[in-house]
C-alpha cells in the first residue's frame, strides 16, 4: 500500500485537507494528486493540488468539463496501479464514483472517514460515524489489495502548503468511453422567497417540530426576534417549507451571528451549511443529540412546551 493517490475534484479547500488525511493514514507516503476536467477550471485545480502535493497528474478533455462518475470511473481504474490506495472527499461526486470504483479495482472501500488511528500490517484503523453521528465506530480496512477511502470534509485540519509540486499532463491516458449515462445539464437551486444566506439571526426548525401546524410556533418566535425562519432537510422533503430555507450541504450555506436550532439532531450535512461559527443555541428533547456538541447553549426540553413560553419571554426582553 505504498502507492497513495488522492483525487482532487476542484480548486477548493479539499487539496490541503486531503494532504492532511493522506499524511494521517499513510505516514511517510508521497501521494500523487489526480485532477481531471477541462480548460481554466482544470488549470486552477491543478495549481491548487500542486500547492499540497509533490506530483500532480492532470487529465484534460472536454468530456470531463463536468465531473462525471461515468467517465471518471474507467479513467481512474485505468491509471491507478494495482494495489494503490486512493483518497477522495466524501461529497456527492464520491458517492457516485467511489463504491463502484473500489469494486472495479478489487480494493476495499472505506467511506466517509473522520479519523485515522494507525495500522496493523495492511489493516488500516479508521474512525467513522454511524446512526447520523450519534456514535463513532472504529473500523479496520484491509488495504493489502488497495483501498478507496472517502474523507469527511472538515475532519482533517488542512496541511500547510508545500514547496510546490510538478504537474504532469496525462491526458493521453484518458480511455474512450461509450457512456451509458449521459450528462445533460446542471439545474441551479430554485431561488427562495427570502435569502437566508444574508440573515444575521436564524430560527431553524428540524423534524422535532413534529407537525406542519407547529411551524407556526417557530414563525411566531422568529417574528418576535426579528429573525428569519430556516430549517433542516426533512422539513423541505415534507414540503412544509421551501427548498430555499434549507440549511446544509445540499441546501443553503448560511453565516448568521446567532443560530437557534429547534428539534435538529445536528447531522454533519446540516452543520456543514453553517459557516463562520455563529452563537449556536440548540433545543432538543434528547440530551445526547450531537447538536449539543456544536452548540454554545442548550436546552433539553420538548419544543412544543418551550416555544410559546420563549416567544413570550422574547417579547418581554425586547
Amino acid at each position: 500500500m505504498d502507492q497513495v493517490f488522492v483525487f482532487v475534484p476542484g480548486a477548493d479547500d479539499s487539496a490541503a485537507e486531503l494532504s492532511a488525511a493522506a499524511a494521517a493514514l499513510f505516514p511517510g507516503a508521497a501521494p500523487t494528486a489526480l485532477v481531471a476536467g477541462h480548460g481554466e477550471a482544470l488549470a486552477a485545480a491543478a495549481r491548487d493540488a500542486a500547492r499540497a502535493f509533490p506530483q500532480v497528474w492532470s487529465f484534460d478533455a472536454p468530456d470531463l468539463a463536468h465531473p462525471d462518475a461515468e467517465r471518471l470511473r474507467p479513467l481512474l481504474a485505468k491509471v491507478l496501479p494495482a494495489g494503490a490506495c486512493l483518497l477522495l472527499p466524501h461529497g456527492t461526486l464520491a458517492m457516485d464514483l467511489a463504491p463502484g470504483l473500489s469494486v472495479r479495482l478489487g480494493a476495499a472501500y472505506a467511506p466517509d472517514v473522520v479519523g485515522a488511528e494507525g495500522a496493523d500490517g495492511s489493516w488500516l484503523r479508521l474512525v467513522r460515524q454511524e446512526f447520523g453521528g450519534q456514535v463513532h465506530a472504529r473500523v479496520a480496512c484491509d488495504a493489502a489489495q488497495g483501498a478507496v477511502i472517502t474523507v469527511r470534509s472538515g475532519a482533517f485540519v488542512p496541511a500547510p502548503a508545500g514547496p510546490g509540486g510538478t504537474v504532469v499532463d496525462r491526458s493521453a491516458d484518458i480511455p474512450a468511453v461509450q457512456p451509458r449515462r449521459r450528462f445533460r445539464e446542471v439545474v441551479a437551486a430554485p431561488a427562495g422567497d427570502v435569502d437566508i444566506a444574508r440573515e444575521e439571526v436564524l430560527v431553524s426548525v428540524g423534524r422535532g417540530i413534529g407537525d406542519q401546524e407547529n411551524i407556526a410556533l417557530a414563525e411566531e418566535l422568529a417574528e418576535a426576534m426579528g429573525a428569519a425562519l430556516s430549517c433542516s432537510r426533512p422539513i423541505v422533503d415534507a414540503k412544509w417549507l421551501d427548498k430555499g430555507r434549507q440549511v446544509g450541504t445540499s441546501g443553503q450555506t448560511v453565516r448568521p451571528k446567532v443560530y437557534l436550532a429547534l428539534g435538529i439532531s445536528g447531522s454533519f450535512q446540516h452543520l456543514g451549511g453553517i459557516k463562520g461559527s455563529p452563537f449556536l443555541v440548540a433545543v432538543n428533547k434528547n440530551p445526547k443529540a450531537p447538536i449539543f456538541q456544536a452548540a454554545s447553549v442548550g436546552v433539553v426540553a420538548d419544543l412544543l412546551e418551550l416555544l410559546p413560553e420563549l416567544t413570550d419571554a422574547v417579547r418581554k426582553v425586547k
Binding site: A140, A189, K318
Partner: protein, 254 residues
C-alpha cells in the same frame, strides 16, 4: 418495467437513543423501522409501475425478523418480496451485501434496481457496488426519474443544484429523500399482506460464497468531545426567560 427495490431494517432514528455498551450497540430495547431512504425508493418504484406497467419486488438481506420490513413495503404496494437470509451472511461488509443482492438480481429479469441513498451506517455504498457487480450503469442521490428507458434522471449535487442525465436500462439508482412523498401505510394494508408468501433464499439457493470481509467494525464508542453546550436547567418559564436574555445579549433579538 420490472423493478427490484433493496430495503433494510434499521433502528428507527426518531425512536432511539443509540447507546454503546462494551464496544457494541445496545440492541435490546431498540425500535426498528424501514430505512428512511428506502421508503422513497419503494414509492418511486410504485409510481414508475403505475405509469409504465410492470411490477415491484422488494428484497432485503437480513435475519428472519426482516420479514416484517418486507411486509411493510408490500403493504405500500410492492407485489413481491424476497428475503435473502443465511447465518453465513452475518458478517458481510458492504461488498458482501452487494454480492448477495447481485445474485438475487441475476435470478430475476429486472429492468431497474433501486436502493436507498444510504442507511444507518451512512456508508452509501451498496447501490454503487451492486451496479458495478452487475456491470450496469449507476447514479446516486437520484431525486427525479422520468421516461421509460433511457430514463431522464436528476441527481442532487452540492448547494441544492440538480445534475440531469439520461441513463440506459437496466441500471441501478440510489434514491434520495424528497424525490416524492411516500404513501401512508395503514393497518389495513399491513393486515392484507400478513399471509403473503415470502420466499427465503439462502447462500446455496443464491449461489454465493460468502467472502471474508475486508472492512470490519472493531468497536463502537462515544467520542471524547469538548465541554459541549452549557445546558440551561430549570422549569420551562425560567429557562425561557434566561434563554431570551442570552439571545438578546448575543444580538439575537432585533
Amino acid at each position: 418495467m420490472e423493478i427490484l427495490v433493496c430495503v433494510k431494517r434499521v433502528p428507527d432514528p426518531a425512536e432511539n437513543e443509540i447507546a454503546v455498551e462494551g464496544g457494541g450497540i445496545r440492541r435490546d430495547d431498540l425500535v426498528y423501522a424501514v430505512n428512511e431512504w428506502d421508503n422513497y425508493a419503494v414509492e418511486e418504484a410504485l409510481r414508475i409501475v403505475e405509469r409504465e406497467g410492470g411490477s415491484v419486488t422488494v428484497a432485503t438481506v437480513g435475519g428472519p425478523e426482516a420479514d416484517e420490513t418486507l411486509r411493510r413495503e408490500m403493504a405500500m404496494g410492492a407485489e413481491k418480496a424476497l428475503l435473502l437470509s443465511d447465518p453465513a451472511f452475518a458478517d458481510a461488509d458492504g461488498l458482501g451485501v452487494a454480492r448477495i443482492l447481485a445474485a438475487a438480481v441475476r435470478k430475476g429479469a429486472y429492468d431497474l434496481v433501486l436502493t436507498g441513498a444510504m442507511a444507518d451506517d451512512g456508508a452509501a455504498q451498496v447501490g454503487g457496488m451492486l451496479a458495478e457487480l452487475l456491470d450496469w450503469p449507476f447514479a446516486s442521490l437520484v431525486n427525479r426519474v422520468e421516461g421509460a428507458g433511457p430514463l431522464r434522471i436528476g441527481r442532487e449535487i452540492e448547494g441544492g443544484a440538480q445534475e440531469v442525465s439520461d441513463i440506459d436500462l437496466p441500471c441501478v439508482l440510489s434514491v434520495q429523500t424528497g424525490i416524492n412523498e411516500p404513501r401512508y401505510v395503514g393497518l389495513r394494508g399491513i393486515r392484507k399482506v400478513a399471509s403473503a408468501e415470502i420466499p427465503v433464499l439462502d447462500a446455496a439457493a443464491l449461489g454465493v460464497e460468502p467472502a471474508a470481509p475486508r472492512v470490519r467494525r472493531l468497536a463502537y464508542f462515544v467520542p471524547e468531545t469538548g465541554p459541549g453546550a452549557e445546558l440551561l436547567e430549570g422549569g420551562i418559564p425560567e429557562v425561557a426567560a434566561r434563554l431570551a436574555g442570552i439571545l438578546k445579549a448575543k444580538g439575537g433579538i432585533k
